[in-house]
Symmetry: C2
């Protein structure tokens, strides 16, 4: 393993896919796989698989391939699956409620520790064992609790104010569902889920297909 090597984002984004396919294989009682067979399953090259994995260590054996359970456990360890960071969700509208339920039903180790909203009709509502708190109390909450990650499911107009709180209170990551880009310092990571953008991209690509015919 190259120790101080920077892992490219392209590689990081493929890790959950490896995790999924290996979990599937294990469930099917397949306990051994070569990079070549895995490449056929995943529709990527065997070269890419071996390159990707070599960023984190040497998990295979010449002439044999990879032990599925062992490799899965290594991927789990790399992704820190069983010991995830905690998060709060800000904005308990359609999307906020849905992802709250989603996370709690998934049991992927992610731990919600608070729900917040601005709307008086929503504040106090119970959801998945939490009461939705007034976003006005968020600064105090952030002071009293270590919050690793924030899921942002709020309208664009409130972004600025919340962004400031995030930076001030040492939040490390943001799952951004709002359709605005966030302006955050480089020590805070952002994963964007921009449904509006995605729909436009899908629409564009569908039109490409239609026009080609």
């Amino acid at each position: 393993m190259k120790n101080n090597k920077v892992i490219s984002l392209a590689v990081i984004r493929r890790l959950p896919r490896y995790y999924r396919y290996l979990k599937d294989l294990l469930e099917k009682d397949i306990n051994r796989i070569s990079s070549s067979d895995l490449s056929a399953l995943m529709n990527i090259t065997a070269s890419q698989i071996r390159q990707d994995l070599s960023n984190f260590g040497s998990f295979g054996q010449q002439g044999y391939g990879y032990n599925v359970e062992y490799l899965l456990n290594e991927i789990k360890r790399i992704l820190n699956i069983d010991n995830s960071n905690n998060l709060i969700i800000i904005g308990i509208g359609n999307i906020g409620s849905a992802i709250t339920k989603y996370i709690n039903n998934q049991k992927n180790g992610m731990k919600i520790i608070g729900l917040f909203d601005k709307n008086k009709d929503v504040i106090g509502k119970g959801l998945e064992g939490f009461f939705v708190q007034d976003v006005e109390t968020l600064p105090l909450f952030l002071k009293k609790n270590k919050v690793d990650m924030v899921a942002l499911t709020i309208p664009s107009k409130n972004i600025k104010e919340i962004t400031r709180l995030i930076v001030e209170h040492d939040v490390k990551g943001v799952w951004n569902f709002s359709s605005h880009d966030l302006d955050l310092p480089p020590n805070i990571v952002v994963e964007n889920v921009n449904l509006s953008d995605d729909l436009m991209i899908l629409n564009f690509r569908v039109n490409q297909i239609i026009n080609k015919v």
Copy 2:
């Protein structure tokens, strides 16, 4: 404009961002912008902006830059914003309901023409002016209606069956919220929104930050 040039996916995925920033500028009554000023706003290089746009035409003027309204209209035309394809949503659970409401509230031209579910408790329910239909009736619906795109918000175990219907009935694009990869022919485009993967990626990157300190 290079006419038969294949537009790379990287470029396509940036188009909605251009659209958003230009719309913002227009709303702020800024009617002129150079690639250099736009690059500062968007945190990308001016070179990239000019390269990206040159895939579709010549929209600027030397010594002046770009007319915001004109460029915005061109991007709208490229993305076909005002004349989007229609879609149905399969799986009206947490996520399915949320995106149904989301799409109808966004008014981005996307037109929902049907909602489907397997669950008897959900079938018949009213949502955004639609009644949720039994997924059993989907083959007939697909035969009678031209469905361009499908949003898939169903559990993984039902994927195979629905995938078959999609291929058979000439659907052109899939917005896949399930946490399984779809196996579709190359003339059907897929945009994946894998919340589970995204959370793992965010978690990994947050840990990188934490461990670096």
